[in-house]
Amino acid sequence: MDFNYDSEQNDLREAVAGLLGRAYSDSEQRRKVVASDPGFDEKTWFRLAEMGLLGLPFAEEHGGMGAGPIEVAIVAEEIGRVLAPEPFVEAVVLAGGLVAAVGTGAQRGEILAGIAAGTTLAAAALAEPGTRWSPAAAGVTATADGGAWRLTGVKEPVPNGARADVLVVSAVTGGGTALFVVRGDAEGLTRTGYRTHDGGRAAHVRFDGTPAELLGEGTGDRTPDVERTLAVARIAYGHEAVGAMDTALRTTAEYLKTRKQFGITLNKFQALTFRAADMYVSLELARSTALWASMVVDAGGDVVAAADRARLQTSRAGRHIGKEAIQLHGGIGMTAEYQVGHYTSRLTAIDHLLGDGDWALARLADGVGEYETVDPLGAPYTPA
């Protein structure tokens, strides 16, 4: 057991922090970037590609770096730390992850190489209006048309769905849920993009007999693959949230030290400093759990169970820290000009995109009677 980053991982963190720190050294830069489409900076995206980060988890033969989940965690945390709007988790870990999980060799070769090079923006179209966080499709159906497939139905909200070059879409087939690739310029594809509260972009995506390419071989049910990839993305979001929480707390502590009321700085008020201390407790517990979940991915353990645990802890912590960060700032925390409220907004989005804390808790509660105690170093989190 070793909870330490190695020197290469520390170097990676420094490099990513350097790049993103230059791009978003003050909150004005981010506000400018998110004000116009596509909601992130294409130049920064390309620099991330040049550094190899957009192919980080993919095999080297597919243009990737063949790195592990800890490296992915480091990048996600640094994204969260400066609230970079570049969709690393959404495009690389989730959409790319689905292609890596089920794509044929040729599909992986083409799509993953494009993602890694920064020339293909991929988006996962999984969510459907009226349902939530299901790995199975219900509202989009796929029908075979000769040797080809056509999709019909609606996906929404699809993060970066309007800008995406490639959509990875879950759809109902006779065999259950299958995954399909839809090109951005496909006929019968209608995409209506909009801003999300956290400065990002999402879209209403309608398929009207839209030509689609089956991802992988055969139409066997892909629900378990989607579930597993979603779990990996949830863990990566956990790290992005930890990075964001870290900055929200740091910013709050700085503010308490400098803001004066009643003739003294706010850090003289124990009612405030104790609450900041509780934020630190939440942050460290969330950090430990997210890190552990990534280590479970690395070890080949039960990723879905670990992700539920990390999701619950990071969700609770994100809400606690996000809300307290605004309250301890007071009115300034409410303003768009000041950065801390944007962290709260982003933490709220992360909380709801792939499953929130109560949702994870319900899943954990279902199985709580089946074992006596949790051993984080044993089964099912490490392989037998």
């Binding site: 400093t273 808790l361 279902d366 709580v368």
Partner: protein
């Protein structure tokens, strides 16, 4: 970064597990599992079994019976002990005065006290808190005045845990009332509890137990050689001691067992024809607490993995704060599962109330202490805000 224990550590964990579950008498482990009070003899018997196997004081220097283990090994040792229901070596001996003597005592003092302390031949108690010196320990007023070859001690200590069993007391006393800072005029003395002038008075607690005492000193004569370390440096030794006290105070293995008992209890209690365990709200409450405990355990493992150089990891302050909250939450959960059975604390032999429900409320009440002792949780928050967040 790697999740699995190395094969050596797996073997070490197995070795600990086997030892604790086979070498410590079942009756003692059953008493702990039932959350009943141990007798003095049971504490002594256990510690001597551990000490004979070199497992009572592994964190001491090797020359005095320590093991030179890594922080991870110590963590595994402690967790396996708690999971197996083995009473831990007496904290006053193993975690408090022992390490202070080993670090600051004279060679003569070490030879005189350390082997007997490890083997619980001497039962130590702690003379720190006073009626007017709780969290503000440095405000203590018990005095020691030099008179020839002796110190003469006058004053009062309180919250002296298990003082009724103690042979010796380690005691913070004010030796320089004129010192500019109140921390500077304090010294550490040790003396037998049966010294003339020492009086012990039990304090009954809200759960009906007698585990703490007041101790009064009236002209108690303590030979000068019983001063530990240097005169007026006692505050440094106290801080060293309290730092050790916080190690292992999270008691994760213990809370794990409480949650396992909560699950078992929730299967026994039937509500509307179905086990309480199947109630989704109860299942969610258990699952959430269990996940919070997991997060704490992982934080403890992170701290353990990062404290090899002897300096405490900043996150270690989280362990006491959160560890005590989760111990309390688990005891509260069991009371809630017991429901009306939880009032039958002192039921007699023929009662149908199961034992776990009888002990539930006294323990819940008793465990209000864990967020107060070892530096109250408010003190922990002050430490986090001050030393970590710079507030």
């Amino acid at each position: 970064m790697r999740l699995q224990l190395s094969p050596e550590m797996e073997a070490f964990r197995e070795e600990m597990r086997t030892f604790f579950t086979t070498e410590v008498p079942q009756q003692i482990r059953d008493t702990v599992a039932a959350r009943r009070d141990l007798t003095k003899d049971q504490y002594v018997q256990t510690q001597r079994i551990l000490n004979a196997a070199g497992l009572a004081v592994p964190h001491w220097p090797v020359e005095w019976g320590g093991k030179d283990w890594t922080p991870l090994q110590r963590h595994i040792w402690r967790e396996e002990m708690q999971l197996a229901g083995v009473p831990e070596p007496l904290a006053f001996n193993a975690s408090m005065i022992g390490p202070v003597l080993a670090a600051f005592g004279s060679l003569e003092q070490k030879e005189r006290f350390l082997p007997a302390t490890a083997n619980l031949d001497i039962w130590w108690c702690q003379g720190f808190s006073e009626p007017d010196a709780g969290s503000d320990l440095a405000g203590l007023r018990t005095t020691a005045v030099r008179d020839g070859a002796d110190w003469v001690v006058n004053g009062q200590k309180t919250w002296t845990t298990l003082g009724q069993y103690a042979d010796w007391i380690f005691c913070l006393v004010r030796t320089d009332p004129t010192a500019e800072k109140k921390q500077r005029g304090i010294s550490l003395l040790v003396f037998p509890m049966d010294s003339p002038g020492v009086t012990l008075r039990p304090i009954e607690l809200i759960d009906g137990s007698h585990e703490v005492n007041e101790v009064f000193f009236e002209d108690v004569r303590v030979p000068a050689e019983n001063l530990i370390g240097e005169e007026n440096r006692g505050w440094d030794y106290a801080k060293f001691l309290l730092g050790n006290e916080r190690v292992g105070i999270a008691r994760i293995g213990y809370t794990k067992r409480l949650l396992a008992q909560a699950k078992a209890g929730a299967r026994e209690v039937v509500v509307g024809g179905r086990p309480l365990a199947e109630d989704p709200r109860m299942a969610a409450r258990i699952a959430e607490l269990e996940n919070e405990l997991l997060a704490l355990e992982l934080t403890a493992l992170r701290v353990v993995a990062n404290s090899a150089d002897g300096k405490p990891h900043p996150a270690s302050s989280v362990l006491k704060l959160r560890g005590s909250e989760l111990q309390q939450a688990a005891t509260e959960l069991i009371v809630d599962i017991a429901g009306p059975l939880s009032v039958a604390s002192f039921a007699e032999e023929d009662s149908l109330v199961p034992d776990w429900a009888r002990v539930a409320t006294p323990e819940y009440l008793n465990y209000r202490k864990v967020s107060i002792y070892g530096g109250s949780n408010e003190v922990q928050r002050t430490i986090i805000a001050g030393t970590i967040l710079g507030l």
